[in-house]
Amino acid sequence: MVEAVTRRVRVEQIMGTAISIDLRDADVDGESIETAFAWLRQVDARFSPYKPASEISRLGRGELILDQCHADVAEVLSLCEDLRRETDGVFNAWRCRNDGRLDPSGVVKGWAVERAAELIETAGAHNFCINAGGDIVARGKPEPGRDWRIGIRHPRDGSLLAAVVQVTDRAVATSGNYERGDHITDARTGVPNRELRSLTVAGPSLTLADAYATAGFAMGLDGVAWVTARPGYAAYAVTVDDRVRYSDAFKGLLVSGTGR
């Protein structure tokens, strides 16, 4: 008799996308999932540049100063500044909107989901996966004896996978222009780079994997080498001429698909 693996999944629409939490620990209170979603809703209310009453919107309009905001705002803006420097200005939260308003969205989702994962771990869970609109934190194992199998969407056909990776205790984030158009630009020029169809980054932190995928995508072909040079992070790109390029470290994660 094989005992069925307990799987609890909840999905909520937050931050303009769907976030699903898939908890595999049978002995952990499901309340931890509710706590994580409550946190994510709170982040959305505070950081959304699309909500006029959010602290980020009020900060951007000069109605608040940083000291009047929640401490998390300073933390996120500090992350944004680190990434602006690390990407030589390709990522710039102060320059990614046409109207020049502050928009830290490129960092907020990954950061918030990583904190949500910490909340679930605090409740005693070791085996779960959070998928926030295609950006993933995978902890532990989905069932005894194997790691999480993460499909990488084929950028030209949502029913196909370009590849499958096997991971544990890792984040996987993908940037591309096939879902929402040319929204990723080099903040220095405001121009989208059209050399890649998608760029997937795997590494220990979703905050950085997500930000690196976005910045690397904006860099185009150079972005693969740029991400690969970040210690602990691996990159996999599908180019506009339908080739894949990936780093040594990513090759070690592939279980099937191109590059196997």
């Binding site: 996308t17 769907a18 898939d22 295609g134 080739r243 780093s247 040594d248």
Partner: protein, 158 residues
């Protein structure tokens, strides 16, 4: 002559991997049993890409057989930089071809090695049959989620 044969295969593999223009399966049938790689183990010493669709003479009635193992070709300069092709032969047939991208000529490139290869038809997987736990992709909108593979994965529990 296994060694000479292997050199010929590597040369052919370079031609196949680098000079063919494979299109993605979005408009083609996925999972076509395309023998893209196995189809052309011609023993000619300098294959030309224009020849590769022509019938190739076979030197022996049983066709060429090759010694099992892995063989790496010479550097091959191309639009992506220098590339080497590594092939794997088992059971006398080519079972794998990989284009290994050599480090870029730029700072910090010493520790960066990249691979580059076409997104081959027969390596693309149907999401529904790939037995994945989760799907990574560019951020979808709340509306697009309903139609996504991730939505199906999220519902397939209990």
């Amino acid at each position: 002559m296994p060694t000479r044969a292997a050199v010929a295969i590597v040369a052919t593999a370079i031609a196949v991997v680098l000079l063919f223009s494979f299109k993605t399966p979005a408009q083609a049938r996925p999972r076509t049993p395309a023998a893209d790689v196995q189809a052309t183990p011609t023993p000619s010493a300098s294959p030309s890409p224009t020849d590769s669709s022509a019938p190739t003479p076979t030197p022996s009635p049983t066709g060429p057989t090759y010694k099992d193992g892995q063989y790496t070709g010479q550097d091959f300069p191309n639009q992506f930089g220098d590339t080497q092709v590594k092939i794997t032969i088992s059971g006398g047939r080519i079972t794998d071809v990989q284009a290994v991208q050599l480090p870029f000529d730029r700072p910090r490139s010493a520790e960066i090695s990249q691979y580059a290869s076409p997104l081959l038809h027969d390596e693309v997987l149907q999401a529904q049959s790939a037995q994945i736990d989760s799907l990574s992709g560019a951020t979808y909108t709340s509306d697009a989620y309903a139609q996504s593979v991730q939505s199906a994965l999220d519902q397939a529990h209990g």
